[in-house]
């Protein structure tokens, strides 16, 4: 009853505060939309300058998804300096057979795009060279056959030409390049997702989870700091309410808020922004609400360290940002071992993992229950610690008096 009264008051505060309420729904949607535009765009087509390249390579480059401009070396150098172009291609080496790729180099995405374009152009050039070589071989084969025919007509049966020519020698000495390659073409089958998936499709579920977590942490932390500065905290601690009831009320209040918030965000994200969703939406909302509960219990646990709204933001930098960095937003498989272990000690990692599994892979509760279990263990642990911290003051009073 008291727990519900606390939750109800929190919801009433939000209902009266139209601006914050609007912000809770609008701000995440605007940012998600911006991200979808940014990360959903196709691959970058680099701007490349060429300096005296052979025409075959030049035409192969023109076929790629890039802006290719031929110019003098001085022009190219100054444009590269001014960051007007991403790379300069020129020939070096003793025999002018080495392609020198001269990249601007500050942006690794652009460098990678340049490398991709050059690699594809080089492959085209090689294929052209190969087919040219094969047609020359065919010509040679025909002329050899003609020579053999002419020789036979002249009665020189015993003559064979070195080099494996002849009508029946192709079985032992192939001149077809494909016979020397173990694999000649590739084909990709997608277990989840598809060829047209953009970067954003992978990040979408992660961002939804992070948003709910960050918003709940800030709003619940601010709410507690306001209680302390307005004196209402002191006032309701003077009533016969237990710390568990206060914390429970806070968790339920912000949990309900997160439930509505994530439902609205998901609705708009799936219909208007075009999020992928392969799984059960109810399960997605259950996880976002669980993440909000982790956030509010963590907020309650650490908010004692903050005495102003400004300090809540500082606490967020300390307790929330590391979780965002290590939760799976960035690939940690090449990170140091200790960092991977640290990432596994944070609740957001499990929440985000479950969200991607449900939304992208379509997994059900039978495959994600471990993540749910871990997240709820964090909720219980934070709740108990926060309740102990809350009560500590009163208990200390009690013991100090009675222990005398």
């Amino acid at each position: 009853m008291k727990t519900w009264a606390v939750a109800r008051r929190i919801l009433e505060q939000f209902l009266h505060d139209k601006r914050t309420l609007a912000l809770l729904f609008v701000a995440p949607l605007v940012v998600l939309w911006l991200l979808s535009v940014l990360l959903g765009a196709g691959t970058y087509s680099p701007k490349i300058a060429t300096v005296d390249l052979p025409s075959s390579l030049e035409s192969a480059l023109d076929k790629q998804d890039a802006t290719i401009t031929a110019m003098s070396e001085q022009d190219a150098a100054s444009q590269l300096e001014n960051d007007d172009i991403d790379a300069v291609l020129r020939l070096t080496g003793d025999d002018d057979k080495t392609l020198d790729i001269w990249v601007e180099g500050t942006d690794s995405t652009k460098t990678a795009a340049v490398a991709q374009v050059v690699a594809e152009a080089m492959q085209d050039v090689q294929e052209d060279a190969q087919s040219e070589m094969e047609s020359r071989l065919d010509e040679l084969k025909t002329s050899v056959a003609e020579l053999q025919k002419a020789a036979a007509a002249m009665g020189l049966d015993g003559i064979t030409l070195s080099g494996g020519s002849g009508t029946d020698s192709s079985t032992t000495e192939s001149l077809d390049l494909d016979d020397y390659l173990p694999v000649t073409s590739t084909e990709t089958t997608y277990l989840h997702g598809g060829k047209d998936w953009k970067m954003f499709d992978y990040y979408g579920p992660i961002f939804i989870g992070i948003f709910i977590f960050v918003f709940t942490f800030i709003t619940s932390g601010m709410s507690l700091v306001n209680e302390r500065s307005a004196g209402t905290m002191q006032r309701f601690l003077a009533t016969p309410v237990k710390s568990g009831q206060i914390l429970g009320g806070y968790s339920i209040g912000f949990g309900l808020l997160a439930c509505v918030q994530s439902a609205v965000i998901l609705l708009v994200a799936l219909t208007l922004i075009g999020f992928p969703d392969a799984g059960n939406l109810g399960l997605v909302i259950l996880m976002t609400v669980s993440m909000a509960m982790v956030s509010v219990t963590l907020g309650l646990l650490v908010s004692g360290l903050a005495s102003s709204a400004f300090q809540v933001i500082q606490l967020m930098l300390l307790f929330v940002v590391p979780q965002i960095l290590l939760c799976g937003l960035f690939d940690l498989s090449t990170a140091p071992r200790w960092m991977q272990v640290l990432g596994q000690c944070m609740p957001v990692t499990y929440g985000v993992n479950a969200l991607t599994s449900i939304m992208l892979r379509g997994w059900g509760f039978d495959k994600t229950w471990v993540d749910f279990l871990v997240v709820w263990c964090f909720i219980v642990a934070f709740f108990v610690l926060a309740a102990l911290g809350f009560r500590k003051k009163r208990v200390r009073h009690h013991l100090a008096i009675n222990g005398r």
Binding site: R9, E12, G231, A238
Partner: protein, 281 residues
Amino acid sequence: MATISEADRAATARHAATARDAATGADGAMIRFDGVVQKFGTKTPFGDNRKTVLDGVDLVVPRGHMLCLLGPSGAGKTTMVNLIMGNEIATAGTVTVMGEVAPYPKARRWIGYMPQDEALYDDISAAENLRFFGAMNGLKGRELEERIDAMLEFGRLTEHRKKLVADYSGGMKRRLSLGVAMIHDPDLLVLDEPTVGLDPDLRLQIWAEFKKLTKAGKTLLVTTHVMDEAERCDEIAMLHRGKIIALAPPRTILADTGAANLDEAFLVLDGTAGTDPAATS
């Protein structure tokens, strides 16, 4: 100030029976201070940097009395209130409320508290504030709604019940804050500077209301730094530099000191206290 409604009286009567379960002290004292010393600051092996705020306070407030805690700013009034509410713990000595020590497992239900600052939720309405604090004190259902109406009527706020507290004037906030302190019909009311910053007519009305509450058997502890207000109390405890320099009805204090008003009386008593070595520390 509107008079206490019939519903209010009924609730008072209903609580009267259960209120007795929360035992008063053996001597019937609602509040009792025994040699209470309160120091703030830190004590290190290199020196004692603690400031003494209360220096051996003994005080008994019997049931049904209205005691006025009178003293200049910084005398230790709010510290005494915090000790009574269990917000702080005394460095030495004991504070008991209705025979219990903090955190008052049984007595807390019967204490009403109005802090010095309004301590209301600005971003919700008056009725929602009252509902929240009522629920925190264990009221529910119909009884809670009745008490909310009674308190709104008491504070003359019935027509503003749906207004956000942020839009209230200072006087309205103070009346609402008093209503919040009384929502659960407590036996003991601890009011820290309840009339500061109020208009004279409103102040008179609030004091009249306090008289009514004591007549109904409530115990009140009111702090103030305004001397002429204190004259309305049954008993005055004059607090100066952490010590109680006088504890008597206002008329007795005036007679003993031969002063014309409490301001003069305070200066007379202050002069004698000034020779106390502890007071100059």
